[in-house]
C-alpha cells in the first residue's frame, strides 16, 4: 500500500513565452518506511513534481493528474482546510535553500514552535520542551540558546538542521527532502544525510530524497527514480540500477560517477537538458543519446514494464528479449 501514489502527473507553467511543461506524466509510489531517491540534472522537474504533491506551487502552475493521493486521501480534490491539516503534519518537506527558507524576522524557536502549535495540542511548556528535544535530535549544540537565535545568526548547515527539525516536528509519515545538502559544504553534507537516514529508520516514515548526486543515491536509498526533462525515465531498486540500468540516460549518469570511470577523464553526457523552446520530437533524450535511431527521434517512447525499470525508452539496455543496444553498450 503506497503512502503517496501519483499517476500521470503533469505540471504546466504559464510563462511569458507560452505554456511550459515542467513535469510530464510522472508516476510516484512511496510506501511507509521506504527511502526513495529522485535523481536528475538541474531543471528536470524534481522539485516541481514534489511541490505539486504538497500543493505549494505558485498560481502560475496548472497541475493535472489521473491520481494523486496520500494514504487514500485524494490530494486533487482536497479543500484548503483539509490540506492544511495534512501538510506540515502528515507529510512535510525540507527545501533546497536553507538560508532563504526561514523567515528572517522570527526566531528559530518561534518558527519551530509554530508548527507544533498548528497541529498538536500542546501547551507552551510542552512546545518549548519538544522544540529543545527536536534541536537535540538534529544535532544542534546548545539548543536552549539556539531557540532564541534568528536565522541570519546561524550557518547554512545549522539552518538546514533547523529546517529538518521543523519538518519532523509533528512526526510526519512522509518527509520530502529536496536536495537537503546542495547548499552546504561537503563535510556537512554527509552529516545531514546520516541524520535524515537515521531519523527515517527511527521513525519509520517514508522519505523521498531529491538529489542530483548518484553517489548519495548509492549510499542511502532503496529505490531510485531517474528524472529527465520533466519525465521519469527509469524507476528501479538501487542495486539493480547500478548493475543493470535500462535507460541510456541512467547508464550515462552512472558512467559519469568518478569511482566508475575507466579512463582518466570523466565521461560526460554531451548536450544539455532541453528547455522550453528546444524540446525535441520523439524521445526527449534522443539528441544526447548515443544509441538513438530514426524511431527515437520521431516516436515518443513507451514506458517499459517493471522488470525493465519502467524505462521510457524504445530500446532499453540489458533487455532479455533484444540485444542490440546492450551489445552496443558492451
Amino acid at each position: 500500500m503506497s503512502l503517496l501514489r501519483i499517476r500521470n502527473l503533469s505540471v504546466d507553467f504559464a510563462t511569458a513565452g507560452g505554456a511550459f511543461r515542467a513535469v510530464d506524466k510522472v508516476d510516484v509510489d512511496v510506501a511507509e518506511g521506504e527511502l526513495m531517491a529522485i535523481v536528475g540534472e538541474s531543471g528536470s522537474g524534481k522539485s516541481v513534481s514534489m511541490l505539486a504533491a504538497m500543493g505549494l506551487l505558485p498560481w502560475t502552475a496548472t497541475v493535472t493528474a489521473d491520481e494523486m493521493s496520500f494514504d487514500g486521501t485524494d490530494l486533487r480534490r482536497i479543500s484548503g482546510r483539509q490540506r492544511r491539516k495534512l501538510i506540515g503534519k502528515e507529510m512535510s518537506m525540507i527545501f533546497q535553500e536553507p538560508m532563504s527558507s526561514l523567515n528572517p524576522c522570527f526566531t528559530v524557536g518561534f518558527q519551530i514552535k509554530e508548527a507544533l502549535r498548528q497541529h498538536l495540542d500542546m501547551d507552551r511548556k510542552e512546545r518549548h520542551r519538544r522544540a529543545v528535544e527536536l534541536l537535540e535530535m538534529v544535532g544542534l549544540p546548545a539548543p536552549e540558546k539556539r531557540l532564541a537565535s534568528f536565522p541570519h545568526q546561524l550557518s547554512g548547515g545549522m539552518n538546514q538542521r533547523v529546517m529538518i527539525a521543523m519538518a519532523i516536528a509533528c512526526k510526519p509519515r512522509l518527509l520530502i527532502a529536496d536536495e537537503p545538502t546542495t547548499a552546504l559544504d561537503v563535510t556537512i553534507q554527509a552529516q545531514i544525510l546520516d541524520l535524515l537516514t537515521d531519523l527515517q529508520k527511527e521513525t519509520g516514515m517514508g522519505l523521498i530524497l531529491i538529489t542530483h548526486d548518484m553517489g548519495v543515491v548509492a549510499e542511502t536509498a532503496e529505490r531510485v527514480c531517474v528524472h529527465y526533462a520533466g519525465q521519469k525515465v527509469e524507476d528501479q531498486k538501487v542495486e539493480d540500477l547500478f548493475t543493470t540500468p535500462h535507460h541510456p540516460y541512467s547508464a550515462a549518469l552512472l558512467a559519469a560517477l568518478p569511482e566508475r570511470a575507466t579512463e582518466r577523464r570523466l565521461p560526460t553526457i554531451p548536450g544539455v537538458v532541453p528547455g522550453q523552446f528546444d524540446r525535441p520530437q520523439g524521445c526527449l533524450f534522443s539528441p544526447r543519446c548515443k544509441y538513438a535511431n530514426e524511431t527515437c527521434h520521431k516516436v515518443e517512447p513507451p514506458v517499459q514494464p517493471d522488470d525493465l525499470g519502467r524505462a521510457r525508452c524504445h530500446y532499453p539496455l540489458y533487455s532479455p528479449l533484444e540485444k542490440p543496444a546492450e551489445e552496443a553498450h558492451a
Binding site: 504538497m54 492544511r84 532563504s100 523567515n103 524576522c105 541570519h152 545568526q153
Partner: protein, 335 residues
Amino acid sequence: MLRYILGRLLTFIPTFIGVTIVSFGFIRVLPGDPIIVMAGERGMDQERYNELMNQYGFNDPLLVQFWDYLTGVLQGDLGQSFVTKRPVWDEFFALFPATLELSICAIILAVMLGIPAGVIAAVNRGKFFDRALMSTALVGYSMPIFWWALLMIIVFSGTLGWTPVSGRIDLLYYFDNTTGFMLIDSLLSGQDGAFLSAVRHLILPSIVLATIPLAVIARQTRSAMLEVLSEDYIRTARAKGLRPIRINGLHALRNAMIPVITVIGLSVGTLLAGAILTETIFSWPGIGKWMVDSIYRRDYPVVQGGLLLIAVMVMVVNLTVDLLYGLINPKIRKR
C-alpha cells in the same frame, strides 16, 4: 545602540544649521516690510519707522542679524512675536497639541486603512479588488488637497450637514486647556456631548490630511507584500499548514513592514506640509494655520522659529523611525 543614536544626533548639526539659514532667509526673501505691516492701516511717520527699524535690528547688516538669531537659538531663545509680543516658543507649544492631535488622527487613519488595503490588494493581485483599490489610491495621491477639502466640506458639511465646517469644538462648550488635546480635555471636562463634538470636528480634517499618506502607504504596502509573498520562507510557512491569514498577516507583513515603516516616517514630513493647508481651510488653530497667518503678517521671529521647530520635529521623527526599523528588522538590531 546608544552610540548609534549619538552618531545620528551628530548628523543633526549640519541639518540644523542648514535649516536655520533657510528659515532665516525664507521670510526675508518675501517682499513686504514687517514694520509697515505692523503699523497697519493707520500708517506711521518716518521717525517712528526708523526707530522701530533700529529697535528690531533691521538696519544691521544681514550677517549680524543672522548671528543674533543663531546665538539666540542656541540659547533656546527664538525671539518674540511682533504681533502678540509673546515668546515664539510659548506660542508654538500652545498651538502644537492641536496640530499633533490632527496629525496623529490622520496618520492612524492612514496606517489603519492603508496597510490592510495594501495587504488585501497584494493577496488578490490582478483581481478586481486590487485594481479598484490601486486606481483609487492613485487618484488619492494626485488629488489637490484644497480642492478635495472643499469637496468634502460641500458634501458632508453642506449637503448632508453631518460635520461642522471649522474649528475644534462647538462654541457651546468651554473648559480648561489641560493637555491641549481636545479629545482628552473634552472627556476630562465631563460636559455632556463635548467629546462627541470634538470628534465630529476632527473627522473631516483628519480624512483630508490622511488622504495622501493613505494612498502612499497602501501602494507601498502592496508592492512590498508582492515582493515578500514570492519569498521562499512564505512557501515554508505554507508548508507548515498555517492559515492564509497568519501567513499574509504575520509572516509576510512583518517583512513587508520594513520598507513601509520608512514610508510612514517620510509621510510625517508630508503630513506637516499638508497640515498647513488643511488647518487653513478648516480654521484649525494649530501651527500650520499659525505659520500661514504669521507669513501674511511678516512676523519674522514666528516664521523663523516655527520653521525651525517643525524641521527639528521631522528630524526627531525620522530618527525614531530608524530606531523602530531596527526593532522590526532583527538583522540590523544586533549590529
